[in-house]
Subunit: 222 residues, 2 copies
Amino acid sequence: MNANRPGLRELKKRRTRTAISEAAIELFLDHGFNQVSVARVAEAAEVSKRTLFAYFPAKEDLVVHRLADHETELARVVRARPSGTDPLTAVRDNFLRGLRERDPFTGLNDHPQTLRLLRMILDAPQLVARMERFKAGAERALTEALRDTADAPELTARLAAVQIVAVHWALADDNARRLAHGESADARREGAAADAEHAFALLENGLRTIGSTGQGHRSTTR
Amino acid sequence: MNANRPGLRELKKRRTRTAISEAAIELFLDHGFNQVSVARVAEAAEVSKRTLFAYFPAKEDLVVHRLADHETELARVVRARPSGTDPLTAVRDNFLRGLRERDPFTGLNDHPQTLRLLRMILDAPQLVARMERFKAGAERALTEALRDTADAPELTARLAAVQIVAVHWALADDNARRLAHGESADARREGAAADAEHAFALLENGLRTIGSTGQGHRSTTR
DNA sequence: GAATATTTCTGCACCTGGTATACATTTGCC
DNA sequence: GGCAAATGTATACCAGGTGCAGAAATATTC
């Protein structure tokens, strides 16, 4: 009954939506997120401000709606894992594959366009904050995936989820910031993989090894 | 030269600041965060809107400035731990102590005033988002503490920090939401302690045990 | 294919958070 | 008491976002 077949109405809606989004991103990339008002975006997209807000509930959504898929990515990976594989392995393998393929969600993609977008986001605190909210969504989705497929009780699932998401995010964030500061993806490649291995090993084996003062794997003598 | 001795100026400043904050919190508690404009707060505090913003850079700060100390609490606990104790143990012990003492940062404080504040925050998405940013600050501070006191390399410190903060937060959040939904702190007490033990054990031992399909501690047979 | 119902778009007025400017007041200090 | 620096105020303004009433476009029914 709803959007089964395109239909002229649906078609125009989709067209308008992408028009607004593209106009917005172009302006934001050129002048910076905070330097462009939504009124100007609306004008560029030849739409009224009111209509713009009908499509995108807030200014930040003009940017982040593109990344919305990634919110549930981890959950999907966990759900789709081959049986017999534990969730953590599935996530790790997926991340390493992402690194090899320069998947943007690993932070290791330095195509100029991706890089510009990244810098634009990092320059706008509101956008960074909005990205943070993605973490919460990812945590929720992953919690459910773990609860459903790993036979873990609610709390365990949730705790595992927040840990995995936090580490995953930290890795991607680290890569992204390095690239944004000029490092090349090729140069970063090996380091990123090693870091990821290290990170997932830590996640798997726990923080037991993290230093009681003067007792770590490489202790200071004080 | 600056705030060494109170001095009339400093004194008035502090007085104004608390006056604004108290007026704000009272109004927010009574009518809800989003139902009260900053103009109304300024009026109630007998200050101009501009002055209000001189003291609190954003509306949310009128509420969250009180919680600002907790941002570095984990880092402080880690830094202040007795030598020979590993950071994770220090954090766990501190959390368990917090539970016993109903320290609000564990989420297990149901004094009516705390509860009202909590509900008010949970009802205002902007405030929740603002709290999220505390996590980022806590992560940064804890990263440094671990780097400095646990002889961990930067990345390891960061990874451990984000895991610890995530779990810590999840525990507190869980407690807080239960209380906000009517559970009593006394009733929640034991469960909270058990959950915390479980959570820190997981953190310590890693996610190795979390279910490859059909292989967990309590496997489903599908 | 015309009439009608429904959805979408628009223009406008309006609210709120936050800032710039220019001026008045207070405080610290001599 | 008098002067410089710091604070406070009033006012006007900007930008994000919403409510509303009606115009325009699309879907539907006969």
